[in-house]
Subunit: 416 residues, 2 copies
């Protein structure tokens, strides 16, 4: 009744040129509203294999999600496979055509003829509008099985999921009296094993409420979930366990909404009318990038300086050349002067900074790859904290940006 198979179509997936993030995204979103994903299939741009996979998936599941192969070119054969599988033909969809035409108008590009062809859709399909691209999606029900067909471009697929499919499927499962509830606690600054150890005494409670730990370089999510036909019971049990967890590791939980830490920080800064400035050396712009991903960040983010060279640290941020000479660019002292400098030149309320060695080169005898200092400065105090991340360059940048944002969050919430 709620069993799902996900089919990803495309040679690029089979040959490993593209990593399949679509299946993970769909699996996560459907699991979160109570569906049970039982199989993923990946298949190439090959008619026979696609048709075989459609029927294999249909045989074991109630819902079949298909992505990929809806583009306008010759190697996109999903639409014609759908026609064959469901024994249907194409009809011209005026609304889709208008939508595609507008998309090109907005981009100021004449519409190529091949995109017109995308407005022809399988007769038995309900069209799923695409807010971000040309290819429409299809919603097809036959013999009690429901097929969703979407483009493989991740943001186009995500748009369809969020705007059309998920709201619909959420209503559907609730109408069947299945309630899946979950709460996710977002932690930062503590590894999975330490978290697990701190929760040792309440682990017997994990039998009733399902608990999963989901680690990444941006922190560990703790997911509490329950499925039953009694929503109140689910919520009560989850709430009880949540409180026990918060008693033990509450200091590491920065939100229980689906928000990155930069958005949590943004809300606090907005509320308190505080302005932020950032001086980045080793993170190279990543912290500013994360902060400015949040809509409305221009209200609190004043400026950032990516002071990669020593000269830029001295010239723009006013770091004392003697500090760099005596302690090095990667040092507590330089981090503090960078944070103070960017705060002062911008007249912002808070300045934060990073300086470190991201690798693969740049290590010295006393300063290994992964050595990082994060600086903090406001009108009342300033400090720097040291970290050691022995990882690759991109992950070292990720981890450094995360601890810098964590320090900012802790400073704003009186936790540091």
């Amino acid at each position: 009744m709620n069993k799902v198979s996900i089919i990803s179509i495309g040679d690029e997936l089979l040959i490993g040129q593209t990593i399949n993030t679509n299946a993970a995204y769909i699996g996560e979103k459907l699991t979160a509203i109570g569906y049970e994903v039982i199989r993923n299939f990946t298949v190439g741009d090959n008619r026979e294999d696609i048709l075989k996979t459609f029927s294999d998936a249909e045989a074991i599941s109630d819902f079949i999600f298909i992505t990929g192969g809806l583009g306008p070119t010759h190697d996109d054969i999903t639409r014609s496979c759908i026609l064959e599988y469901f024994q249907t033909d194409l009809v011209f969809d005026e609304q889709t055509f208008e939508r595609i035409k507008k998309l090109f108008e907005k981009r100021n590009i004449p519409m190529p003829e091949i995109n017109r062809e995308q407005a022809r859709v399988p007769r038995i399909a309900k069209v799923i509008p695409n807010d971000y691209g040309t290819a429409p999606g299809y919603d097809i029900t036959k013999n009690g099985k429901r097929f969703f067909v979407m483009p493989g471009v991740p943001y186009e697929m995500r748009g369809m999921m969020e705007n059309t499919i998920l709201p619909d499927l959420k209503n559907y499962i609730q109408s069947k009296n299945i309630f899946y509830n979950q709460k996710i606690l977002y932690t930062t600054g503590i590894p999975e094993s330490a978290l697990y150890t701190k929760l040792e005494d309440i682990r017997p409670l994990f039998d009733e409420v399902k608990v999963a730990f989901l680690p990444s370089q941006f922190g560990v999510k703790i997911r509490l979930s329950m499925r039953s036909n009694d929503e109140k019971f689910n919520l009560k049990k989850i709430k009880f366990l949540e409180e026990k967890i918060r008693e033990r590791v509450g200091d590491y939980i920065y939100t229980d909404e689906d928000l990155p830490i930069e958005e949590v920080i943004g809300k606090i800064l907005t509320e308190r009318k505080l302005k932020l400035a950032v001086a980045e050396s080793c993170t190279g712009g990543l912290i500013c990038h994360r902060i400015t991903n949040i809509p409305g960040s221009s209200n609190y983010f004043e400026r950032g300086v990516v002071s990669y060279s020593n000269e830029s640290k001295i010239e723009i941020l006013g770091v004392n050349p003697e500090t760099i000479k005596n302690f090095g660019a990667v040092s507590e002292q330089t981090a503090i002067e960078m944070a103070r400098g960017v705060r002062k030149i911008s007249k912002a309320d808070i300045g934060i900074s990073t300086t470190g060695i991201m690798g693969p080169t740049g290590a010295t005898e006393t300063k290994p790859i992964g050595l990082v200092f994060v600086g903090y400065s406001d009108s009342e105090r300033e400090f720097a904290k040291q970290f050691n991340f022995a990882d690759n360059r991109v992950r070292n940048k990720d981890k450094t940006s995360q601890v810098a944002l964590e320090i900012l969050w802790r400073a704003l919430t009186g936790k540091i």
Copy 2:
């Protein structure tokens, strides 16, 4: 004869907690030596589903790669599924036991009893040694089909592939005289449909050499591939088509190696000993972030300024307040002054800049969301280019960073 299925086992994959990178890795490595990956299956920690998937995969392929579920705890059931599927039993493998024992000695940890159990392997399996963890892999041949069973931990699996499986399979396929060759052309600045239209007259050639178009917000990749028993023939055909494609769309191809455009730019800057500085408004640090993801970028990236506020544009970059007053912060004039300003204060050879409206708010009557200006300045010329991206905030940032890097690449290669 060379058809491959890959089976990934684990609930964490189905619920989207872990992205399946193993299948992509295995697919890439096997494709590169001439095997044809025809299907990926992902299945949960469920006996019935696992056994069904084994037989589904066996029915369509010659080689079956299985990863995951070989750990020592209760939810790892792959080994017992193997026993059931092949109707075999366990034997104690002395060599594996010695290897596991040594692993714990090296880590200075006493060996837990559950790891001893891992030295018991299916009777019909040839053991694949694990250089990085406890679980051995299995190499099983039955009825002309060959199964490789490996742990799900990526670096353990990769060790087995590289040290044992790939050398063996490479010998095998060359003995069968099958060759697969491919070439990927990386384009930027042209949508898939326009690319396709420009290649219209040579499309009949796509029948012999397989051609695929892989679009993302960072450009479209064109993949040319061929499989035959004559490697020279493959290479000749691919080369011939590549030249035809280059004649038509060569201006958009920035590399045929697996490199992002920021790395291609980095190589050029390094070679010519040029220094770069970046002034970002609307991209908010993303361009600096992309540039500094490349190892060695500190040799050519001097500094970046994320001038979000008007004050920062004026104070750090020296943009004339009258320019902002008369033309607005989002204008050709401001973009040029930003690029010029960051170049001058840094004494870099080239300055680039971005200013625009990323949304969801900030649009005015004359300046819609997605309006962007990219500025360029070197000692001989300066200019700005206008773009309109009608997308969401994050994708507008991605696309703006990409056109800014494209302009830089074009300027460096005399294409603009």
